[in-house]
Every structure is written in structure tokens, then in C-alpha cells.
């Protein structure tokens, strides 16, 4: 793309040619002070630009094709289970009176859904990127510093204390609004439900789980008593130390669902990883057949016109399915190629007219 023409070969003698006899008033005769530093003066010319564009264009086309094909191989299954329509299975759960409600979404796969399959939940019109919402957490609490359990930071208001003025741990809007629908997936084989094991590990960032968030140290051997004097967030069905009683490594602030939720989404329509399907018979994927998804419907979204969905997807080296990148590469790549051709034509034409002049 550039042609170097290194001029003014600055030999050391050139650079330092200071004459000792010179008066002190005389300016230093160095390459720098005389603005004569040896310099590379790139020249962009047709001979570099046209092949350059061609090469970049072809490379981009190649990447684009690879990306596009990869993206096409990724299987995605999206299901909205908000229950807005009357005939949808979760419609009955949308009425506020229904406190604990379960609904069942069924679907069938015609081919093998190659594993590992990732199970996401998605929310739309949900603004995790509100500024006030985003700052509404206490990182000191979340690193297990019990001093801050008693007096949450101001930014947590109005999610800092309950109506009896007990401090909430973890405080703040983000924690308080943690997504609490839960799912169970069954494969229906000959009318019987076979539970698909869902793996809740490795869904959050490694650093979040291992370094950034810390549980408070157990008091008198009891993890729960570290939370003494505090109350659970108002919207939570159970306290932080009860999030996963089966696995102490997935409990409290280190609960991976909690960690996933605490990493705020960038846009109002987002998805977050819920589970991975990597175990047992399903390690290679979900075989073709009928499936049933049991939804424990707790999370209200209709009040702000939001939607909830579940997404099954597998991933490739580029992540989840995303046609944009492949298309962008194809477009830019072909643009470069076209431009190099146009430039070649223009150049050839002018070259000939140049020859005529000559």
C-alpha cells in the first residue's frame, strides 16, 4: 500500500556536524533542529493501491464466506413464552393473581441439534442499561465485605432497605431484579418424559466467578449466619445464601445465574446464558424428537411491554449465530475488489490518453 522512498539518508556525520568553533549564538546544526530528520515518505500510487485493494478484497471475501457458512451451520431455536396470545401455553400465568404458575412449552426437532447445546433466556424491551439501574449495586457487598452488609451504599436506594429498614443484601436494583423463571427440559420418548440434564456451571465469566465476586466468610461455620441482620431482596423468593443449596460452590454471590444477571446487557433486547446441555445422552446434542419445556413462570414483563423467550443454540469458533459479520465481510470484500477493477479501468484509460499526449 505504501512505497517507501527513504531520502536524505542521514549519515551520522550529517546528524551531528557540530562545529566546535561556532559561537554559542549559532543554532545547533543537528538534523532535528534543522527539520532534516531522515524520513520515510510513503507514496500511495496506483501500482500499490490496485493490487492492495485486490488482495484485501479477496482476503475479506474469503473470511466473509467462511463466516457466513459457519453462521449458517449454527442451529438456533427461539421460542417466545411470554404468553401474550390467548392460545399460548403460558397465557394463564400472565395474570398477576397467579403467584406460582407453571406452564409447558412443547417443541419438536426434526434433526439432531448438534451439541454442545446452549440454553439462553432472552428479554426484550428490558433496559438493563439504565444508568441509575446500572450503578445500583454495592461492589463491596459483592466481594463479601460484611461491613457493608449493614449500611449499603447510597446508590442502592430505593433497594437498600426494606420497609422495616433492614438492610438488603445484595442491595440495589440489579440484584433485586434478578431473573427468576426456571426451566426444566424433557424429551418425550413414547409419551414418557425423560429429563434432559442441564449444566449450570461455566455459564458466567471465569473471572467473575473466581476473582471479582466473593462470598462472605462463614460465621461459626454457617454460611447463612454471615447474612444475619440483613434481609433478602424484596423480589427474591429466597435469600442469597439459599440460591443453590445443593452446591455450596454455586451459592450466595457465586451463584452463576446471579453472576450472569449481574453482567449487564448492552442493549434493551438481550439474551443471557441459562444452561449448557453437555451431559449424559445429550452431550452430542439434542436428538430429533419431541421435547417439553416446563417453565416456572415468575418474572413479570408485561407491565413494561417486555417479552421473554428461550433460545437453544450451538456455537462455533465465532460464537453464536450472527449473519451480520459474514455479510459485512462479503460486502466490504467485494467492494474492494470492484474498486480495484474500477481503478484499473480508470488507470488504463488515462494511461492510454497519456500515451496519446506523448
Amino acid at each position: 500500500m505504501r512505497k517507501s522512498s527513504c531520502r536524505r539518508g542521514g549519515t551520522p556525520e550529517d546528524i551531528r556536524m557540530k562545529n566546535e568553533e561556532e559561537a554559542s549564538e549559532r543554532p545547533d546544526n543537528t538534523a532535528f533542529t534543522q527539520q532534516q530528520l531522515p524520513a520515510w515518505q510513503p507514496v500511495l500510487s496506483a501500482g500499490i493501491i490496485i493490487p492492495g485493494f485486490l488482495i484485501i478484497g479477496l482476503a475479506f471475501l474469503g473470511i466473509g464466506i467462511a463466516l457466513f457458512l459457519t453462521s449458517q451451520t449454527i442451529q438456533v431455536l427461539e421460542m417466545d413464552y411470554t404468553g401474550v396470545e390467548k392460545d399460548s401455553p403460558c397465557f394463564r400465568c400472565t395474570s398477576p393473581s397467579n403467584q406460582t404458575c407453571t406452564c409447558e412449552v412443547t417443541f419438536s426437532l426434526s434433526t439432531l441439534f448438534t451439541g454442545p447445546v446452549f440454553f439462553y433466556y432472552g428479554l426484550s424491551n428490558y433496559f438493563q442499561n439504565f444508568r441509575k439501574y446500572g450503578v445500583s449495586k454495592d461492589d463491596y457487598q459483592l466481594t463479601g465485605d460484611t461491613q457493608y452488609f449493614k449500611s449499603p451504599r447510597d446508590v442502592c436506594f430505593p433497594y437498600a432497605h426494606d420497609s422495616k429498614n433492614n438492610p438488603i443484601v445484595p442491595c440495589g436494583a440489579i440484584a433485586s431484579s434478578m431473573f427468576n423463571d426456571t426451566f426444566e427440559l424433557y424429551q418425550i420418548i413414547n409419551g414418557t418424559k425423560k429429563k434432559v440434564p442441564l449444566d449450570g456451571k461455566g455459564i458466567s465469566w471465569w473471572t467473575d466467578y473466581n476473582i471479582k465476586y466473593r462470598n462472605p466468610l462463614p460465621v461459626n461455620g454457617s454460611f447463612a449466619s454471615a447474612f444475619d441482620g440483613t434481609v433478602k431482596p424484596i423480589n427474591w423468593p429466597k435469600a442469597a445464601y439459599e440460591l443453590d443449596l445443593t452446591d455450596p460452590n454455586n451459592n450466595g454471590f457465586l451463584n452463576q445465574d446471579f453472576l450472569v444477571w449481574m453482567r449487564r446487557a448492552a442493549l434493551p433486547q438481550f439474551r443471557k446464558l441459562y444452561r449448557r446441555i453437555t451431559e449424559g445422552d445429550y452431550a452430542t446434542g439434542l436428538p430429533a424428537g419431541n421435547y417439553s419445556l416446563t417453565v416456572y413462570y415468575n418474572y413479570p414483563v408485561l407491565s413494561f411491554d417486555g417479552r421473554k423467550k428461550v433460545v437453544f443454540s450451538n456455537v462455533s469458533w465465532m460464537g453464536g449465530k450472527n449473519d451480520f459479520l459474514g455479510i459485512a465481510y462479503l460486502v466490504v470484500g467485494s467492494l474492494c475488489v470492484v474498486m480495484s477493477v474500477v481503478m484499473l479501468i480508470v488507470y488504463a484509460k488515462f494511461k492510454f490518453s497519456d500515451d496519446d499526449d506523448a
Binding site: 543554532p27 501500482g47 465481510y329
Partner: protein
Amino acid sequence: MLRRRLNRLCGGDENRVDSRTIYVGHRPCPDTEAFIPSKFCDNRIVSSKYTVWNFLPKNLFEQFRRIANFYFLIIFLVQVIVDTPTSPVTSGLPLFFVITVTAIKQGYEDCLRHKADNEVNKYLVTVLEDDRSVKKESEKIKVGDVVEVVEDETFPCDLILLESSREDGTCFVTTASLDGESNHKTHYTVQDTEKDLQALTATIECEQPQPDLYKFVGRMHIYKAEQEPAVRSLGPENLLLKGATLKNTKKIYGVAVYTGMETKMALNYQGKSQKRSAVEKSINAFLLVYLCILISKAVVCTTLKYVWQSKEGQDEPWYNQKTQKEKDTNMYLKMFTDFLSFMVLFNFIIPVSMYVTVEMQKFLGSFFITWDKDFFDSEIEEGALVNTSDLNEELGQVEYVFTDKTGTLTQNNMEFIECCIDGFQYKHRDTQSEVDGFTMTDGVMNKLHQKAGQEKEELFLRALCLCHTVQVKEPGSKEALTDQVDGIDGILPQLEEERGFIASSPDEIALVKGAMKYGFTFLGLESKSMKIKNRENNIEEYKLLHVLNFDPVRRRMSVIVQTKSGETLLFCKGADSSIFPRVKPEEVDRIRMHVERNATEGYRTLCVAFKQLSAEEYAMADKGLSDARLALQDREEKLIAVYNQVETGMSLIGATAVEDRLQEEAAETMEALQGAGMKVWVLTGDKMETAKSTCYACRLFQRGTELLELTVRTLEDERLKRQEKLYELLQEYHRKAVQDAPPVKAGVTRSWSANQDYGFIIDGATLSLLMNPPLEADASQYKSLFLQICQNCTAVLCCRMAPLQKAQIVKMVKNSKGSPITLSIGDGANDVSMILEAHVGIGIKGKEGRQAVRNSDYAIPKLKHLKKLLLAHGHLYYVRIAHLVQYFFYKNLCFILPQFLYQFFCGCSQQPLYDAAYLTMYNICFTSMPILAYSLLEQHIDIEILLDNAALYREIANNAMLRWRPFLYWTVLGIFQGLLFFFGVRFLFSNPALQDNGQVFGNWSYGTIVFTVLVFTVTLKLALDTRHWTWINHFVIWGSLAFYVFFSFFWGGIIWPFLKQQRLYFVFANMLSSVSAWLVIIILILLSLLPEILLVVLRKPRGPHSRQKKPSQSNVGGNQSSQSSARPLLMRTFSDESNPVI
């Protein structure tokens, strides 16, 4: 009387009184009023601005008076008070940094000033007090104190010299620290003062302090017992200025007249008025645009926020409830604070660092001028001097050059060429013999076929020997004498091999030396008698009675001498125009021919006249002169009136011709300036013919140039009055030069495309007629006609100009349509006014003292340096700073635009897209160094090519890179890239699962990807623009990218204990682990730079191509070369490359 006393009681309101009265030694006078110790300021010099106590408030106040700083302070305060998205640190830290650095710099400078002040103020001086000498600190000197100063000491205040240790009542002084003139000047004691200072009872009445170093009028009343008080006049020759140093005199006594801040030195200390460059004005205009963008962004977001919130469920979803306080807040107050929050969020669009960078660029950049060894003149052992760095880029924008002739275009190194006595020509043969040159032997005069009578010859030569103010410098003598009365002009001693002469003007030396060649040698002036050695080697003595000084208005000077035989003679020499009306008309004709011929040959001509004064005539003149010299007010006017009265009815005896050689490369320089599209105006006090021939010699006028003359001579018309004729001529010239000329496209090669070149000549008298016509209404019409004509002329010559008229012309052009950038260049005191008036003032370190240099913005040793200063330095500085400014606005636009767009996706909740560290560091660290290096080192065209092709200067004429079009281009580019950054990442994030382990990215990853693309794009954009890659550029560009990556790892790699949130923890590293993020970063960078690359390809090449031009072509600078350089790069062929150009 009572009132005066009252005034004094009320704090000494001296301003209303025109003069002050000083009691020498505080001794009451027997006469007049009672002794009133009047209050004058003490002798403390305060050049410092601050004291320890008021430094902080005063300095802060001064700093925040700057609009920009104030703006940032407001933003900072808003951040502190209102709940805003970014912490006050983000804008407080840079502001604090800027303010602190400035404060430290100013504090340090003030500290130095304090030190210097103290050194002066605490210096011990000897004061005579009641019969004894007392040592006192300098600051305690009061007006009226008699002060003793010994050799090599500086005067502690302005003193009137009362007594000198030298016999003749003189002392020598050097004023090097005042005006840079290092020669010795003679000062005189007041005549007839008592030798015994203790007994002296006197008052001094003198004018109120005024800054002019060379003007002083006063009067001294000396009271003696039983006698009428004697009155003596005081002039600048009696006044010893504070700051000057006593030389060659053991000690002197003087009485303090002006002290402390009222001394002439202190009054001169006040800085010059600040000149602002066109670039600065552009910056301010752009700033306004960006302020509008900022405010409209904030308004749009605030409006949208409230529109959006009005929708059901959006204002306060259950997951993001408001606090009670927020709910209670007034709606309008909320809107206002929201507006402020948005302002804060977007305020980075106007960066603090731009001001710092621009200042740094200017300050550091100006060193390249001082460092340039091409500006070093081995004769005076000095290089260029930069007095202000604010105007560097203005050097690249000059449209009009106003140049002085003498000393600037010419060397001011005079050589006596020939003379004409009584109509006969005498020519001294030089090395080359001419047709009309005649042989001669040393010391013998050489004549034409006929020669004037012996008597006339000798009279003429005596006149040359007597009528001057030259002093002889004895070789080897330590006591260097200087000229007796230094006129308004400064002086530098001129050394001569055989016999040193010192004079205020080199013409005089040339004349004295000329007379020497013909056998008359001036031996010197000793106690009022001038000695001449005549041809017969006899010494003649003349008593010098009066010197009627030279001044530029009278344009002549005279001496009155008395011969041994008692005759009183007046010799007068001066410009022909001022001599001819004062001599008998019949004598004029014989000499006029010679004078005019000499003038057309480019020589400076002077006419010599003489007159014999009768005793009565002399008595009258003597009285008139003495009276006028004693006058306190309007002394100058009165003197001139007497001069004019004496210098009448003389008889013309001859004329002289002195050659003033052209400066080195004057013609080449002028040609280059014209080739660069600048209009050169020569403003001179000289006569038209001389000036015209200089113009021809400098190739300002060419053979084909048609001259349009508007002088007193062309105005003479039988039929019409002057005024009417002037109008008629203006009309005619206007028709010729403006209307008939082919229309020229703005900005393109005017002088080349026009078929006919015009030169315009105007003289001082006509100019004043033009500027101040009898009818007020005509003035503007005349001026516009005049300006239009001048704009279409390649060169304009204004001759017979008074210094003020020079400034007037500059001012007129400066304020004309389009307000062109003007540059004045001169070397003498008479050029100071025009140097100060023009946008850029250039002083030449010439022979006429240092006044021009002191008042200039840049000083260069020689005229020839102007070419490089403008064509190379000016051009480069302009390109650099223009690019700097545009780039700064651009990079902040595409920095903030994604942040603005993000508001549409976060419910306009002022969520910042980037982390606070990135917001703060973007302008300070990540993108500041490359542009600074670029703006110091860029040479888009090589310096040699710039110097060879003057026409390249035109490419940047009229502020070409900072007009609205390029600004729009940069803005559109910024918007395009901003949109691309944001939406590119937005589409990528439609599925935030970007890692191959299925995990999702959050909002900080989003911002970090955008920011990474941003930093790389703006840096690479600059890399694309860089045409001159030195190792510094490489280091800084790749270095800051590496620094960004390193910093991001570091910032995200540690749990920072002092941070309340760790939101960037491992965000950057995680981003790099995603292939998709890499790919999107690469494609977005390429896509944003694609239009730039295309433009670079299609744009016409500058540097590399013009290098191919043959020198002959480029010198002509004609259409050919401009055509070929206009070929777009694409049309250059592969074969172009196969002939590599070195």
C-alpha cells in the same frame, strides 16, 4: 493654588497637571510658592504580578477568565453538584492538570520577576542628604533626591545629570538593556549649574512621565542669592534613564525626576497588544459550531427522554424504581438537571487538551525558527528571533507584504558615487572604469571637461565637511565618542579602516568620506570647534554655533558655523524637494537635471545649499532657537518654525549622489514572494525616482510593467484642480487595471494569468489627499477605488511616506474587504508603527538600531531570510496547525457520537458508553501524542521544494485548510465514522454470545469494542495523513497504540482497591479472546478508513510529484507546472514509479 493643594491631599492627582515640579535635594526655593513636598510614587519596581498571599486567588481568577477554562470549570461544577453519569474526576482531572501546570509556570515566572525586582529594589545606592552621602536601598529613592552613580553601575531611576567627574561635563552611557544599542551615548550636565551641589538651589519643571525613550522636555530654574533665577532647558541629552549603564565616567551626580513605575523603562515595560492569528479565529468559530452541536445533542436527548418516559410503563419499570426524593422533585428541575447531565456526558466533544496541545505546538514549534541555521548571519553572529509564538501559522497566510526600502531592500551601506557642483558633474572613479569616468590620482579631484570655479568647488566640499553630525573616533582610544545629538533614529557605530566615523545616519559618513576623496578631511569636533584639513593640508577651524537637526518631516538639516574671519555661515543639506523651494529658482535648473538622473539610477541624492548670515540675522536666529529650546510645551513645533525661518533664501551649491546597495538576494526574494501570490508594497520615505529604480532593481517592476502614477506631478493639470484630477486619474486607472483586466478566478495565479502587469506609484502628499479629501463623502469612494486598483497591481510603491502614513496604509489594507493578512518588514524606528499595525511584524536586525526588532513579532538578520520564513516555515506551520485543529475536532466528534447514539438504546438515561478511564485518557494519553508529533514534524512537502516552488504557497492562501468546506469534510468524516463504530458493534451485539464458550458480553464490552475501534481508527487516520515519517512519528503512533493495548490490559487486569466498582475487570482481555470481536474491529477500522484511502488516491499529489518537475519549469511557476501537478495520482502511471525520484 488651593485646588492644587487639595488635589495633592486627595492622593496626588497628578494627571491633570501637565508638568511636575521637582525641588533638587528637597531644598525649598526662595521664590514663588511655599515648599510643597509633592507626592510621587516611590522607586520600587514591581514587575511581578502576584504576591504570596494573592497568588492563588488572583492566578485562578486570571486563568478562569479564559473562556475555555471557564467552560470546563462550569462542567466540572455541574458534575460535582448534579447527579451526573460521569464522575467529576473525568473532567476535573484534566482541568486540574492544565490549571496546575499553568499556575506553576506562571508562579515560577513570577518568582523570577520577584527576584529580579528585589535585586533592583534592594540595590544600595548613594544619596546625598544634607551634606553627607547616605547609603540607601534603591527603592527608597524619592523624586528630588540627588543620587551618586559610579562607573559601570546602572542608574536606579531617571536622573537629570547635574555633575560629572569628567572635565567637560559629559558622561557616557550605554542603553543596551533598554533598546539593545550597545554603543556609548554622550549625555550632558545642565549648563551653568553650581559645582557645589550642596549649595545648589533649583527646581526642575518637566513633563509628566511618558514612555518615549527619546523625548524629554524640561526646564531648570537655578536660584542664586541676590540674582534673577537662571533658566536652563533640559532635553533628552540631560536625562539618564533607569536601566542604562554609566560608562567611561568615574561618577556622576543626578537628581531623580522619575522614579519607580514612572521611569521610562517601566513605562515601556508594558507589553505589546496581543495579536490574534486567523487560525485562532477559526478555532473559535469551530468551537461555537461544536458548542451548538453539544447543546442540540443535549436538548435532543432530554426531549427524547421525556417523550419516551411518557409511554406507559417506561418511566419507572418495577425493576428500576425511583427513590422518594426523585419522585418529589419538580418536573422542570428534573428536566434541567437531565439537560445538564447530558451536557456533561457529551462535553468531551470540546476537549481541554486541544488548547494545551495548540499552545504546546506553537511554543515548541517556534523553536524551529530560532534553530534554523539558514537564518544565522555570520556578520552579526545572530540568528532569527521569535518574540511571539502565537503567529507562526500566520506566516503561511500572508497576502500583502509591506516593506521598507532603506535598510530592508537595500543594505543601508552608503557609498559616495558622484557629486555635482554648480551644474558640473564630478565622478570618482571606482574599480571599473566607465565611459564618463575620469582618471584621477589619489587626493586629487577629477572633473568633467568644464569644471566649476575653484571657489565654488571648495565651498561645496567645505559644506560637505561641516554640515553633519558625524563624530570622529580616534583609533585605539578607549573613550569611544558617539554622535552628539542622536536624532530620532537609533545609531550604531560605523567603523572605518583608517578613520572611524560615528554618525546617526550612514549617508553622512558617506558624504564625509566622499569629501575626503576630494581632499577635504574632517578632523573632528573639539569644544565646539570643527577642524578641517583642506587640500593644501592646512587646518581650518570653524566654530559650531548651532545644529539644526535632521528630522524626517523637514527632510533636511543645517549647521551654523563661524569662520575664523568672523563670517557666520549656514550650510544646509537635504532632499531636493525640501531644498529647492528654499533657494533661488535660477540655480535650481542647472542642478535638477543631475539630481533626477542620479535618482533614476537608484542613487540617494542630497542637495547642498549655503547662506551667509549677517550679524542681525544671526542674532535673531540665535534668540529664536534659544527661546524655542526652553519652551516646555510644543518645543518641537516651535523649533521647526524657527528652523524654517532660518533656512530660507539660501543659494544652491551642488548635489551629491550616494549609492545604497541592494540587499543580498533582494530580487530573488521579491520574485519568490510575488510568485507565492503575495502583493509587495514598498513603503519608503525616499523620493520617487530612487524608490522606483530600487523597485526595478528588485524586479518588483518588470520591463513590461505599466506604471500607474498618482503623484503630485501627475496631479498637476492646467484645467483641473488637484482634487478633480485625482478623481479623474483614479477612474482612469480603475478602468485600466480593474475593469479591462480579464476576470481572474479567486485564488489562482493572478499575476501569471493577467496579460498586463500593472505597477502603482503613489506619494505621501497624494495619499493624504486621498485619505482626507475635502469632502468627507468622497473618502470611502476614493479609498475603495484606490484599493481595487492596488489589488490588481503586482506591485505598489508608496514613496515620500511619513512613518505614520506607512501605518495608515497598512491599516487601510488590513481593514479592506476580505481582511487580508498583512506583513510588515522593516529595520528602522520609522517602521515601528507599521510593524505594530500589520498582522505580522518582522524586524530586520539592521544598522538602524534595535527598535524595529524590539517591536516585531519575528526578527531576522537579512531580507533574504524572509523567503524561507514565509515559504517554508510559514507554509508548514499553517498546514500543521490547521490539520491539528481539524483533527482535534474530528477525533472528538467520532469519540462522542457513539455515546450520543447509545442514548437511544438505553432509554436516554445518560449511561456512558465508555468507562470513565477511557473518557479521561482518550484526549490526554491515547490520541494526544501522535497529533502533537505530527504538528511539529510534518513536512507534507519538502522544504527545498517549497522554496523552489513559490506557487505552492498559494495552495494554502485564504486560510484554505480552515474554511468551512474542509471543516465540513472533517465533520462529515467524523459523523460517518462515529455512525459506523456504533452501528457496526450494534449489529454484532444483536447476538451478544460472542465467545466460543457461549458466554455473553455486556455493556462494558460493547463500549470497549467501540473504543478500541475508535482509538485505532483516529490514530491510523493520522498515520494516513502523515507524509513525513521520522522515527519520532513511528515511535509515537505505534507507541500510543501499544500503550492503549497495554493500558487496557493493565486497567482491566487488576482489582483496583480505590475504585468502588470493577466494571472493566477483564473486559478487554475477554474481548480479545473472541474471534468475532477481532473481526469486527478489523473490518470497522478498514471501512472507516476506506473513504480516506480512496481520497488520498484520487487527490492530486503534492510532494512526490512536484519533485519531478525540472527546475526550469518550477522557476517559471507557470501554467504548465500547475497543470501537471493537478493530475490526480491515479493518472500517474506505473512508469512514474519505475523512475524512482530521489
